[in-house]
Symmetry: C2
Subunit: 266 residues, 2 copies
């Protein structure tokens, strides 16, 4: 298993490489097309990790876990149900989640598995879909909960989930990861709030890639957020939220405190 | 008023320029940052027009015209209601609209005004929003109508409107265009189906840019499709649909006939 990261070094230079214990073996070329190692290896502590890929879109699923469907008394859907989070919603590990300027309501976390697409795929048959998956990452699908149903005629999925920094992705892309044996764990200020098995998914990653590739072309680096299960809740300003998937790692983000926001504006 | 186009010449080279009567004055550099004219001018008939910009996202509004809201018996919304069409949905002038491989249902046209963003904008005050607009174009916001409400629990806006080639944009970006005096006309195989005044918009272009820039960062080349009004209908395979806005031009696309689709697959 390779754990791919993107980073920015102290000089502001961005790069990518394979995380090997405490060091990053830097690579060059195209992450998705046989990148080659450089002769450089960098202590991971010396760099800032960025989101491990730069998706053109994040396709985020709703109602993809049996346990949550049962709790919500919903039938499993006949096709993956999704919305699109724009590329501008991307946030990397340790990046502050920013409260929208005009929004004072609840902000919810959703710990999820993220699929990272490795090649252009359109109308991919089910049996070929696994080969389109480059690897897996952790996702926090952040939501401005009170925006979602603000208008009775139109559920505002893209708006509620599309704000800048509301698509937290990272810390690594793990290749050859066996999702079927892993759990997603979410901790809010250190307290466990979600812990659900990925084996409870309604549509498996390969099924998602195949079916969604019939809806739109998926591109290298695009992310499918597989949906969440039980235990979703809200984050207070200044609180830290951690998404942990054993075999991938821990994605930590803090919702900017009001003091940070004032600072940001001056 | 400048009418900007992108094109591909007979050698396969892509370029952009200003359309002046029958010729394109080619430009170089960044369309959104003081492009400079080259010494080349090309007869427009000798090139294939492409979509005039390459958005990272198309933000598509619903319920933004008083006449349609009245017909649907909906209140004007308290904020622009939108979904996101991915960059992969883009189609240019005269490009075939492709029926999704597994979909046999109705495909609907929606003639709309498109706003093309000219600069990065986030949290833009209303009085500064007009300066963020590079120009205007025609949009056909194509929809797989029967996908939209296939699941009773989740309106599939992004899926129904996000298919490849379902975001028709063009033929030009008109700068200094006075939308308030223009109508959107849609013709299906030459028969007028929509003809509505843009002055009936609920949120004006500048209001849309300001409000949506508080929801997500808008980038140069991004398109906001302003929503449609009365007269939406469906397109038969092989039919031609034309969106006309006086001062911008005519955007013509054909829904690929079944014969074309077979051809495409062999």
């Amino acid at each position: 298993m390779t754990r791919w990261v993107r980073f920015r070094d102290s000089g502001g230079r961005a790069g990518f490489g394979a995380l090997d214990a405490e060091r990053i073996v830097e690579h060059e070329g195209d992450l998705f097309d046989r990148p080659s190692p450089t002769r450089t290896s960098i202590p991971a502590d010396n760099v800032e990790l960025l989101a491990p890929c730069t998706p053109t879109k994040i396709v985020a699923l709703w109602n993809n876990f049996h346990a949550l469907a049962a709790k919500l008394e919903k039938q499993p859907p006949a096709h993956p149900l999704f919305l699109i989070k724009p590329a501008t919603s991307l946030a990397g590990p340790n990046q502050k989640i920013e409260r929208p300027a005009a929004y004072r309501g609840k902000i919810a976390f959703e710990g999820e598995l993220g699929i990272v697409i490795g090649r252009r795929c359109k109308d991919v048959p089910a049996q070929e879909a696994a080969a389109c998956i480059f690897g897996y990452t952790c996702v926090n699908d952040v939501t401005a909960a009170e925006v979602l149903n603000e208008d009775a005629n139109f559920a505002q999925w893209c708006r509620a989930k599309g704000y800048d920094t509301f698509g937290c992705v990272g810390p690594v892309i793990a290749s050859d990861f066996d999702w079927s044996r892993a759990n997603v764990i979410t901790r809010l200020d250190g307290v466990e709030r979600q812990n659900y098995p990925l084996s409870d998914m309604i549509y498996s990653p390969a099924e998602q890639v195949s079916l969604i590739s019939h809806d739109m072309t998926l591109l290298p680096g695009d992310v499918i957020a597989c949906g969440t299960s039980l235990g979703v809740g809200s984050i207070k300003d200044g609180s830290t939220i951690e998404i942990i998937i054993d075999g991938i790692g821990s994605l930590v983000n803090t919702l900017a405190a009001k003091a940070d926001m004032k600072l940001r504006r001056t």
